[in-house]
């Protein structure tokens, strides 16, 4: 496998009595955007945290470019990640937030200004991050992920809080990353965000991979995306109002 992959193999993770991951396996190939879709609590974030060495799996492996993340010397030069855009010290400016990350990866300060410009943060970079809108925080998070110019990118719900203009920008940005040959894993709880972005989709529910394939293959007949999603996740949602259609039963 090349440097530009994510390989997740048989991940199990239990939190108390809850089995959060129940044998999750999938692969993200170079030059593709892979959508990682599932309802809230399906295990998307837990899987991403395990890939990034933040949580430990009870069983199974997660490799990035063939190696465990925790063994990488300057990991953010290999894997850029955005987990929680709100995770900022409010009194620190966006630029200084990027600066400390750059220092940790031994990247020059000039790289900070490059990525700030890349995500269109502009003059806001010098303001305190506490005053940022959610969309600006997402852009700052993307900038942080791009600091090390990594071949692999992992983003948890990057469309959250973005205005329509931001969503259009984000889609183009993700396509461009894949076109540059990078492997991109993007989670979303809305399948509708992914057409035109994701080449490949991994659907997860209750800690299991429910579907894994090219997006067009998942849509059968004249189903809308919402129908597809509901069909795939029906058995995996812990609670759904009885007023909603119970497709797939």
């Amino acid at each position: 496998m090349s440097d530009t992959t994510i390989e997740v193999d048989g991940l199990y993770k239990r939190f108390g009595h809850t089995l959060a991951l129940d044998g999750v396996s999938f692969t993200v190939a170079a030059g593709t955007v892979t959508g990682f879709v599932g309802p809230n609590g399906a295990g998307k974030s837990t899987t991403m945290r395990i890939i990034l060495g933040l949580d430990s799996a009870d069983r199974g492996t997660a490799l990035v470019g063939g190696r465990p993340y925790a063994g990488l010397t300057h990991p953010m030069r290999q894997v850029g990640s955005l987990l929680d855009a709100a995770a900022l010290q409010p009194s620190r400016s966006g630029r200084n937030h990027l600066l400390w990350i750059a220092r940790s990866q031994r990247l020059p300060a000039s790289r900070v200004d490059e990525v700030a410009a890349l995500v269109g943060l502009g003059g806001a970079a010098r303001r305190k991050a506490g005053g940022y809108s959610l969309g600006m925080r997402q852009r700052l998070g993307i900038a942080a992920a791009m600091l090390g110019d990594p071949p692999v990118l992992i983003m948890d719900e990057p469309f959250n809080g973005m205005d329509p203009e931001g969503i259009i920008w984000m889609r183009a940005f993700l396509r461009e990353l894949a076109a540059e040959g990078r492997a991109v894993l993007v989670s979303s709880h809305l399948l509708s965000e992914l057409p035109g972005v994701a080449d490949h989709v991994v659907v997860i529910g209750r800690g299991r991979v429910l579907a894994d394939g090219p997006l067009p293959d998942l849509i059968t007949g004249g189903e809308s995306l919402e129908d597809v999603y509901l069909r795939l996740t029906a058995s995996a949602v812990e609670y759904r109002s009885s007023a909603e259609p119970e497709t797939g039963r």
Partner: protein
Amino acid sequence: MTALLASRGRSGLRDATRAEWTKFRTVRGWRVALALAAGLLVLFSYLQAHGKHTGYCTTPSPTSCVGGHPYVPDGAGGGAVADAYELASRSLAGDGTITARITSFSGRIWAGPSNEAPSLAHTRPGLAAWSKAGLMVTSSTRQGAAYAAVMATGAHGVRFQYDYTHDAPGLAGAVSPVAARWLRLTRTGDTITGYDSSDGTTWHRIGSARLVGLPSTVRVGLFTTSPNTYGGQATRATAAFDHIALRPSGDGPSAGAAATWRATSTGIGPRDFYTALGRGGERRHGETILVTGSGDIALAVADAGPDTASDSLLFGLVVAMIVLIVVAAMFATSEYRRGLILTTLAATPRRGRVLAAKAVVIGACGFAVGAVASAVAVPFAEHVMRANGNYIYPAGPLTVMRVIAGCGLLVALSAVAVLGLGTILRRSPVAILAGVVVFILPAFTGPGVLGGPGGGGSAVRWLYTVTPAAGFSVLGLLPRSPLVSFPYTMGNGYYPLPPWAGLLVLCAYVGTALAAAMMVLRRRDA
């Protein structure tokens, strides 16, 4: 290969440390807190020093009191000394030998109330353990002069001592008419040698001293002095000398008891610090000279009533420590409060390295605050205290540097420990509370709470020996001397542990907190 891995490990720590330093310095509140801590340390030191005034009274009635402190001489060894004694002496040009026998040595101990100036009105018989009578060679009778002496003592047998701190034992046992002690001092150039004998025939050499720069003409004679007891009562002693012979080398005539011996009382004037009992003097009975004296010839310990350069530091130091404890707790817990720990650990997956880098940053900040502020505060407070008439115990530049570095280390170590607590607890109010309880509170339950000066004995000793408060030992500046019988207690300004030992006790606590934090951080999901 191993070297390569090691260098990679070091550079990894360097990257993490630069990242943590960037994090620290880009939060304005934390920078302000550091400046505040340093400012408060200096401010409180000034206030402490400013509130301290000394005056003393030279006569009880009519009362005559002046501002300032009594005279404390500097001894030949460089420290403050007590130099108060009675001496019957002759001058000796060039080399020579003095011999005498002591046949009796007795004294009186002040038995009146301790808050009254001692007088001969209320006394009981007895000697202090370090009452001294014997032969002395001294460059002059000025206080603090270089000397060497061989002497009988109250409870420590015959001793050869010189320049206030040097001591060698001779014959054991107390002096009495049936156990008289023969003593001899010989001067040869700069070297003085002391001998003793129980019969005047068989002599034992006890020791010798090189008194560099001793003038060719010196004072040689019979002295007596008697220090305060362990309990602080003033004493006075009288010794009977006979078989007195001062022989210059060469063909000069020998001087005996019948010759003229000049009586000098040194260091018992109204402006001298050492508390004497009555006045000294000499009497003759035929071939015997009785010398009566009070005082001490030894290092001045806390009985000189001194302040030290670090006295005014304590409160401000504790305030600075609390500020740094708050900053350290926030430096650790802000990661969790905002979820920033995800980014931090994604950037540096080796979690021990993250904690080490944070410890280096907060430790360096704490050290800088403590050391820089105390480097300003110590000379400043000393100046203010001197201007208020206080006596400051002399401390050499190395000792002052130790106190300054010690202040830096105290602030740094408590901050690093709380960084560990904050990492474990993840919530700053709890971490701050734990930090203050463990690292500050023991110091405040010290002498003031557990008993008055000198009181609270074992509890206070225990606090400053096994709790983190032991770290404050680095502030200790008062000297101890085995030649001075004195209660070296917290109440009198003496920490139970030596400076660096106390700091090691604190280090053990800090190391435990850091190790626990390291373990928790490694095992826990981020």
